[in-house]
């Protein structure tokens, strides 16, 4: 679980986090509120989740409940993997 969070955080830091801006953000902070995610960023993030963990993100799952914080994304990936394995 913490591995997933770490991987996601690394991806966000590498791809979205605003370089010189060194905002510390918690795993549960809203990425939308902090202006880290935008409409194209979300699509890139989904592609990353699909490629990294082999999950398929459905249209209906592209919602803040699943994607708006490091913790939410990690939980979502975990759930998707569990369903896929079952």
């Amino acid at each position: 679980m913490s591995d997933i969070r770490q991987t996601i955080r690394q991806y966000i830091d590498d791809n979205f986090l605003l370089g010189a801006r060194d905002t510390a953000y918690a795993d549960t902070d809203s990425l939308l509120d902090l202006h880290i995610l935008d409409s194209t960023g979300v699509l890139e993030l989904i592609l990353f989740l699909e490629e990294t963990w082999g999950v398929k993100v459905e249209d209906a799952e592209m919602v803040p409940e699943n994607l708006d914080s490091v913790a939410a994304i990690a939980d979502f990936v975990q759930r998707k993997r569990a369903t896929a394995a079952a």
Binding site: G19, D38, M62
Partner: protein, 515 residues
């Protein structure tokens, strides 16, 4: 008549009507009026004078909407700033406009404070904490900061109303220019009222409409959704962004949304949603597009997916808000046309020498009307390029800088821009502005930025970089640096490292060979 009177009349007439619905929270016209009063009183108490500039660096929220009308109410000039703006550019805008006040929110505090420290003209900054949900403020407040003004009863902003006329400035909206420095488009009350009335009339907006606004209010297309709705007493379904289209759709269903304004990237995102037909959007009657043209296939898709709605293709410029629209009945006859001029506006094409061209020609589009800006704030040379003498002595008309062709009947088709500005997801990007940032990176010797075709974005920003000998700079590092300094949509999507850039005979970088 002044711009804010449109809202004040509505607030007096329909105080209990829902003005805004944002993420399920409704705000009535009366509530907004109280917020306007509170902010206006605070601005007045802080000594903000008629004609002074007040920057609004806020997300799409009721505080932003109220701040617009509050600034107008006290006779000052509002400047909406895109919340993707970074500290350097925000400081540039605050200094360029000599803004006396800044209204912002805690989520943007880090950027705002960095900009404030370099902006001596700002005397007061109001910080909104309505959306922090208990998150503590991690930074150190600037001494000029104050808590956001609470709503107040009518009459709180006491004193005589300022003696304004419709020639006074209402807003300054910054837009990217080919020189790399953003330019402040000066708009008077008359400019904005004229545009508002023309657009509202050809679209046939009504008091009963529920207008979706997922466009930033710092973008005139988003801003006018509020201005038009509030002039009629309609309701705005205000969205923070279009980051989660499903959420916007869900709320469109529950709000029974009737009008959806979008840009091509938003329509691409929508049409990609496989379950779109599961959403009951039967109330939707109008769809509008501007910022970039829709392709014929996109038009077909949109009409197939939303047969209940009428689609308006439009074209505009911040310098005069809107220029043309295609009456929907023409969509089948000439789908790629952006139409012709709006009510109370004249447009024509000119050749290089400024001669008016007959139908069936290609030339630069010229715009005449009371909606044409007063110029770029403190940029006389750039103003003179765009505003030139018109047919009546003393009158100025707007040279758009865009090439169009007309068909035999005079309908307009966009051909190309005369400058090298990139249009990506509906936003204007100046290659020079991006290149300036690229040159600020250690290890960059030379850089050139172009737009390349992109299915989702229309055009994607691409950078060509020549590294200094020994530099190990990576694509990621370059993009990250850009994200730290310019709006996200301006940062290159791809970076190609090359050994050298093509040159013209005079040694200038030649972009025509790059792709």
């Amino acid at each position: 008549m002044l711009l804010h009177h449109t809202f004040e009349h509505t607030a007096a007439r329909l105080p209990h009507k829902r003005a805004i619905s944002r993420e399920g929270v409704a705000t009535s016209y009366g509530d907004i009026a109280a917020r306007v009063e509170g902010i206006a009183a605070a601005l007045r108490e802080a000594g903000v004078q008629r004609g002074e500039r007040v920057a609004l660096f806020l997300d799409n929220c009721v505080e932003m909407v109220a701040a617009i009308y509050a600034v107008l109410k006290i006779g000052a000039v509002f400047m909406p700033v895109n919340t993707l703006t970074k500290a350097d550019k925000l400081a540039y805008i605050l200094n360029d406009a000599e803004a006396c006040a800044l209204l912002t929110q805690q989520e943007l505090a880090e950027t705002a404070r960095a900009a404030l420290s370099a902006s001596p003209s700002v005397r007061t900054c109001w910080m909104c904490t309505a959306y922090t949900q208990g998150r503590p403020d991690p930074g150190a407040p600037d001494p000029r900061e104050r808590p956001f003004p609470p709503p107040a009863a009518s009459g709180a902003a006491s004193g005589d109303p300022p003696v304004l006329i419709d020639q006074d400035l209402a807003a300054i909206i910054y837009t990217s220019g080919s020189t790399g420095d953003a330019k402040g488009v000066m708009l008077t009350h008359l400019n904005m009222l004229t545009a508002l009335r023309s657009v509202r009339s050809y679209l046939g907006l009504r008091e009963s409409d529920v207008i979706v606004c997922a466009l930033p209010l710092a973008f005139d297309y988003g801003l006018y959704q509020i201005l038009m709705a509030f002039s009629l007493g309609a309701t705005v379904q205000l969205e923070r962004s279009f980051t989660f289209p499903i959420k916007v759709l869900e709320r469109m269903v529950s709000e029974r949304a009737t009008v959806f304004p979008g840009v091509p990237t938003m329509f691409t995102l929508l049409t990609q949603i496989e379950t779109l037909r599961d959403y009951d959007l039967s109330a939707l009657r109008l769809i509008t597009n501007t910022a970039a043209a829709l392709s014929e296939s996109q038009i077909k898709q949109i009409r197939a997916l939303f047969p209940q709605a009428t689609l308006y293709s439009m074209y505009g410029l911040t310098e005069c808000k809107r220029v043309t629209y295609l009456p929907p009945e023409q969509l089948d006859i000439r789908p790629t046309s952006v139409g012709r001029g709006m009510p109370n506006e004249e447009v024509w094409l000119v050749d290089e020498a400024g001669n008016r061209l007959p139908n069936g020609s290609t030339g630069e589009l010229v715009i005449r009307g009371s909606h044409v800006m007063r110029g770029y704030w403190r940029k006389p040379a750039q103003t003179a390029e765009r505003l030139r003498p018109g047919p009546i002595p003393g009158e100025m008309v707007l040279y758009s800088g865009d090439l169009f062709r007309t068909d035999a009947e005079g309908w307009l088709y966009f051909v190309a821009r005369k400058d090298d500005i990139i249009k990506t997801r509906g936003e204007k990007v100046s290659p020079r502005e991006v290149e300036n940032v690229l040159y600020g990176i250690d290890g960059v010797l030379e850089a050139a930025v172009i737009g390349v075709d992109d299915e989702l974005l229309g055009q994607a920003v691409k950078a060509f970089v020549v590294r200094q000998p020994g530099s190990t700079l990576t694509e990621r590092e370059v993009i990250k640096h850009c994200l730290a300094h310019i709006e996200n949509f301006m940062a290159p999507k791809t970076v190609e490292f090359v050994d050298a850039l093509p040159r013209t005979d005079t040694g200038k970088i030649k972009k025509t060979g790059l792709r």
